[in-house]
Symmetry: D3
Subunit: 132 residues, 6 copies
């Protein structure tokens, strides 16, 4: 398990990152989730990841729930337990019903099967797909 | 590279699967894509995968493009070149613009970074996320 | 693509490894497969891998085809195209029929689905399985 | 950790799946293992996985222990702790001795090394293996 | 294969990124490598990756060759052929001899074996390692 | 969790391996870490892994800390929690400061992003990198 640094014990640089995230989410900085408490000792990594997350989830052409589902799909494929737990929660907060969750899971499992079939059968890419 | 079986040379069982897919897509069975030509020699695997794909993409609570993006996200995380090429094409056909593609890619890359950070720093799951 | 060294151009140390493998297989050392031609410039890695392969496939309690299927299953899970091509060929030479190949593939795909389900649903290990 | 639903609290659809598995194994449905308790809230995923497992392990050309070893090999390659624990137990129940377990592990480890060597040295597939 | 955009055909935003990289490396922007030609249509992803690479390889406490070896090790573990080819070349340009390459490969292969052994045997973390 | 065998309960063959490692590290064999206690029931796997680790970390052209960082990089990419915990500790013992740890992490994260970008954009290898 990681060494977690509580908000009150963080360096000014780490505090600034957490304060920014907490303000955007409307929560108390002391209630920030563990990934930020773990990153606090490496402020450069922390700042970069916070910036990347903020830009990835900035309002755009894809709606917030779609983005959460994409994030969750990657986390399942990569088998990150922390990320499945945290972004599964986020997805529900952004409107994922249990029915949507099941539909989503079926697509994820079909994709994983398709990925392995393409490798196992050594399938060459169709010409029609090469104009990507 | 895989041995590909053309539609005209497939067994009746494999032909039936391809005919069903081609009808649903409104294409000539002879133009079916390579993954099905590769699977033709293993009809039980083929039937099961065709059924699973059909159910995963059946109309439901998530729209068709969201499902394609979830499929594509898994394929990138799993590094399946065939699937990235084919489902990237599918996603564009279902309305993914270049702007949406870039937004999608940013979420995928942020997720991959988040996944590795959670592992590298050995972050314990927050209690708030355990009620999943 | 890798720099491949032909048998006649290999160092004495690399030649010795290849000669041993060729003798065991009853083939001409010049016909050794590419992985050994690629490894020839790193003889310590080559010797260690040759020894490990020899021991893994030495006669024992598991029959030769079972071992090939285990090797092939790992190679599909790891998405190694070279290994799928080479050990797929080996498995057929050791008796894998097309019917067995399809059965094998179904188990591999079921396993991959089971793996992802266990992660996606964050399933805790049953007490009965902890006495492993 | 996942929300687990006990058999007595499952929906009729989930109960039917569990009852079928329990009957086939000759166990009490209340003793079903955790993966099914976790899947109970998503009956469509559950039914599909149960069907896929049943077909994969149906009597055929490969014996039951070989199939368990293939499943276990995939689970190790994919690093699924739950699956290693459960299918390791299954393999022992189906006859895997400690000696066979060690032999199996040696093949798995040799395969993983072979996979990475083929990638690290960027080895091109031999012509002889392309006729797969 | 990706659509590659040559420097002369890039948008001003993409050109600026490439010009910066080319200047730092002392090469003609027209000779930039393919990853940047592929990224040119997604300038936000491009800018972020260029910044992240620049910071990761900025002078610091670890020497440039060590950083290249770390990058190459990750690329082998992740099985990225493009990255193995490009960063293998970079490592040689930064001083990696064939002897060092072999030593490096042995550590990578030992690590991969250690990783899988720890998973396969379900090894619990020692108390002495938990104070990380 | 694995069945761990304490040094005093190991077979003579397993004891010999542990005694060798303990002597080289200047520790009491009873304090050997868990991976060896887990491997004790499979002495052939144990002997081979001990030999491979010894050779990989034998004095050579790369310094001990660089080797630890390569090992740790692979372990993060492969998401092996045990290995991240143990080799993170080893790296600190061999001189990795927190500043070096952060630099190292930035390279690892940049590599992972580079790996996925190369796959997602299906980037072809540059001719200049093919002479590897």
């Amino acid at each position: 398990m990681s060494k977690l640094t509580e908000y009150k014990d963080m360096s000014p640089r780490a505090r600034a990152v957490v304060a920014g995230i907490a303000a955007a989410r409307g929560i108390d900085p002391a209630d920030i989730n563990n990934v930020w408490k773990a990153l606090a000792r490496h402020p450069a990594v922390m700042e970069q990841f916070a910036a990347e997350m903020k830009e990835a989830f900035a309002p755009g052409k894809l709606d917030p729930l779609t983005k959460e589902l994409v994030y969750l799909a990657v986390s399942i494929a990569n088998q990150c337990d922390y990320c499945i737990a945290s972004h599964g929660t986020m997805a529900r907060r952004k409107g994922m019903t249990d029915e949507m969750h099941e539909e989503f899971t079926r697509v994820v499992l079909a994709a994983i099967k398709g990925n392995k079939i393409a490798m196992a059968y050594r399938v060459p890419v169709d010409k029609a797909f090469e104009e990507a």
